[in-house]
Amino acid sequence: MDMLHRRSFLISGCAASLVSLAPHARADTVRGQKLVVIILRGALDGLAALPPLADSDLEALRAPLIDQKAMPLSDGFALHSAMPGLAAMYQAGQAAFVPAVAGPYRERSHFEAQDLLESGQVARVSPDGWLNRALVRAPAAYSAVSIGPSTPLILRGRPVSATSWSPAALPEPSEDTLQRLRDLYEADPALHSSLDAALKAEVIADGMTPGMSGMGGGGRAGLAQYRVQLEAAGRFLAVSGGPEIAVVGLDGWDTHTGQNQMLQQRLSALDAGLGALRTQLGETWDRTVVVAVSEFGRTVGVNGGGGSDHGTGGLAMLAGGAVKGGRMFGDWPGLKPAALFENRDLMPVVDMRSLFKGLLGDHLGWAPADLDSYVFENSHAARPLSGLV
């Protein structure tokens, strides 16, 4: 519990709103449900994480990106072999997937897409996030925590009971960022050789042998952060009187090159993180929904670098004791040329807002009217996804 105490509930200007809500409302309405929102920044390749093996077009379109050891689940889908923990949850009815989901955004910029995903808007990013607006209209004295050095847009906005926490040590630059800098420095030999010298020194210091990329194959703390952050989220939610909602942002999913190896590491780290989260939550796990989403999906086809590029339809993963799992949500649009978006991307069939509205409404008790017009403005058309919990 040291981690919690070090910076425990550094509530930023929100003590007042905690107090102002009547305590009896809490006792009446809150039944201890918890929600963890994981944002996989960089765009997860859902087709690689959850390959639709039964789709007859898959093999022809992206053979090099299919995990040959993927574990069959149901409905023709299999789960990447790096996620045995999540597969077991699925078999136990505690995990589910939405295989073709996206927000209303149809361009392919990470920033815009993440900002719209977090602000819950259709076209123009607002300065407040949908979870912030949700807390403003919360059905009870809910509070939230974000894990990370700064509050993400999804929670920013009006003063609500939201807090943030990050591990004491500054997160180190991710391996992915370093690799991108290394690419950038191809044009600057002096900086390039300095960076290589530094990376070699770090590899030695970490006692690691350089991996295939020459970057120490996970020697940097980047991927270990997944587990640290999810574990921290679990501690916050499990503590008595702790927040109901946690937000975790996990970087590193932009797999333009060498995707198979990158995803193997990242999905494995995510799987370990989910396991650690479950352990931390203890019996609270039974009342918890974890939802992991990305700003968009990736191209169906493989690119020239053994990776995939920015796409549209993506994957949402659900886990937790409260999930009515062991099933897929939403139709499968298929991978026939005519079924693809702009002839290249998976066509989304579920609106991301429907997924969030379903969770907020059915799992945490938000009023449908607030969800339709305030949390997600003008979103009547995006009906809440039902049957999730």
Binding site: V125, L153, L170, P173, L195
Partner: protein, 479 residues
């Protein structure tokens, strides 16, 4: 083309672009720089926290109050009360230095006249004093504001005189304790000549190393400088001690502020001097100033300064053409610093699109604050100090009288680069809030940003990563 020139004006000659700076400079990049060549432009003003900063006089007045409060030193060591006072003095000094560094950083981040600011920092580094101990710690900030900034657009001769005869320099390079060996006080205390200031003026401030001066020149110049000291209690005791049995601290000379530079005739080594083959009569107080005046317009000084300026504005190994041009302007104008600044602006070699200069950590951090706001540095856990310490360029703490190095190899080691990346990564998380790294890149670098960098920033997987890449791009790391 003028957009690229504007970006060069703002980032290479200035301290980096604030939003809109590159546009403001684009109609006439050289004119935009020239209009900053005004004495007032280099003077620090209008910064939060400036009213908290002390003058040299304030520092010494406080020091005298502390000495009075502390009472005489006892043979058995400091008393408890004296220890407490000492601790308070040290704490206040550290806090004062911190305020100085912060005010300087904020001014650098905010000033519209950033070429004047770069010019002032160049000269401050040329005439380095450093907070190497408790005696110096309170003086470094006042020195830059009092001796350097008001004079960087006057003449080199004036700037040199103001720097050398400022109490901070007299103490930093030990002239305040240098005593004429044949004076009565010198004889009582044994040989009291300290050559340090004289040697560094010749080697670092004026002629430059290897320019032909001899050890005899150093000694002669050092003797000429004797007598110049600082009006503080310790010096007063020293002088009083030389008078004989009376060991009480004598009152400072009437009408002289505490901490002022003063010339005490009885500390000055009498006699005529020969420096660089020229004779200087036994005129006492003015002797050192006359030598300085000649040094200030010496051809070797012109060349030395020209090389340093060309290195600062053109490349680590500047072309002879650029050095020669600045050298000629220096000689023709007898070291007119405004003329020299204009010559720098019109140095064609300094307008090449290739960014040859790696920013020092201070240049990097100031440019980041100009582009992204103070939170790029001040928002760090532990504040500005931790960032500057991590990047190894704590303000006012140059490692030697030669100042901070102005060549890439001093700053480009692997670990130094990794520290920059770690800073950028953390800063990116603070400045990415609702901001676009693509917009940032345009504002900060304009047409200097390469297609490769633009694409990398555009393709970053998050706004945070986009900012990290923009801050760490070769174009932002260089100028």
């Amino acid at each position: 083309m003028s957009r690229l020139q504007a970006a060069i004006a703002v980032t290479r000659f200035g301290m980096g672009a604030r939003a809109g700076d590159i546009e403001a400079a684009s109609s006439d990049p050289r004119g935009w720089l020239e209009q900053q060549i005004r004495p007032q432009a280099a003077v620090m003003a209008g910064v939060d926290g400036m009213d908290q900063l002390q003058s040299t006089g304030d520092v010494f007045a406080a020091r005298m109050r502390d000495v009075a409060m502390s009472g005489p030193a006892s043979p058995g060591g400091a008393t408890e009360a004296q220890r407490i006072i000492q601790q308070r003095i040290q704490r206040e000094a550290r806090e004062g230095l911190q305020r100085e560094g912060e005010a300087r950083a904020r001014f650098g981040a905010a000033t519209p006249d950033a070429f004047a600011e770069r010019w002032a920092r160049f000269w401050s580094n040329h005439f380095t004093v450093a907070a190497r101990n408790g005696e110096m710690i309170g003086l470094v900030g006042p020195y830059e504001r009092e001796a350097i900034r008001p004079n960087v657009f006057s003449s080199f001769s004036r700037l040199l005189g103001q720097a050398v005869f400022h109490p901070a320099m007299l103490i930093y390079l030990d002239a305040a304790r240098s005593i004429g060996p044949s004076t009565e006080i010198g004889r009582r205390r044994g040989a009291g000549l300290n050559e340090n200031l004289a040697r560094e003026i010749l080697e670092l401030h004026t002629l430059g190393v290897g320019s032909g001066y001899s050890q005899d020149d150093v000694i002669a110049f050092a003797n000429a400088l004797t007598g110049w000291t600082v009006n503080d209690p310790r010096m007063a005791r020293l002088i009083a001690a030389g008078r004989g049995p009376a060991r009480r601290a004598s009152a400072p000379p009437a009408g002289v502020e505490p901490g002022a530079a003063i010339f005490i005739d009885r500390l000055h080594e009498p006699g005529a001097r020969v420096v660089l083959g020229r004779s200087y009569a036994d005129v006492g107080r003015e002797q050192a100033a006359l030598i300085l005046e000649d040094l200030a317009v010496h051809p070797a000084s012109a060349r030395h300064i020209a090389i340093k300026l060309a290195r600062h504005f053109v490349a680590d190994r500047p072309p002879e053409s650029a050095i020669g041009r600045l050298e000629r302007v220096f000689l023709e104008t007898r070291g007119d610093l405004s003329a020299l600044a204009r010559a720098v602006v019109h140095l064609d070699e300094a307008w090449q699109s290739e960014q040859k200069k790696l920013k020092t950590p201070d240049e990097l951090l100031v440019s980041a604050m100009r582009a992204a706001g103070p939170q790029a540095v001040f928002g760090a856990a532990g504040g500005m100090r931790t960032v500057y310490t991590s990047l190894a360029q704590q303000p006012f703490s140059a490692p030697s009288p030669a100042g901070w190095p102005d060549q890439a190899e001093a700053w480009s080691g692997g670990d130094a680069l990794m520290k920059r990346i770690e800073w950028a990564d953390a800063a990116a998380r603070r400045i990415a809030r609702g901001a676009s790294p693509v917009v940032f890149l345009n504002q900060a670098l304009g047409d200097l940003a390469s297609a490769r960098t633009r694409q990398a920033v555009l393709r970053a997987e998050s706004a945070e990563q986009g900012f990290t890449l923009a801050l760490m791009s070769p174009e932002f790391q260089r100028r």
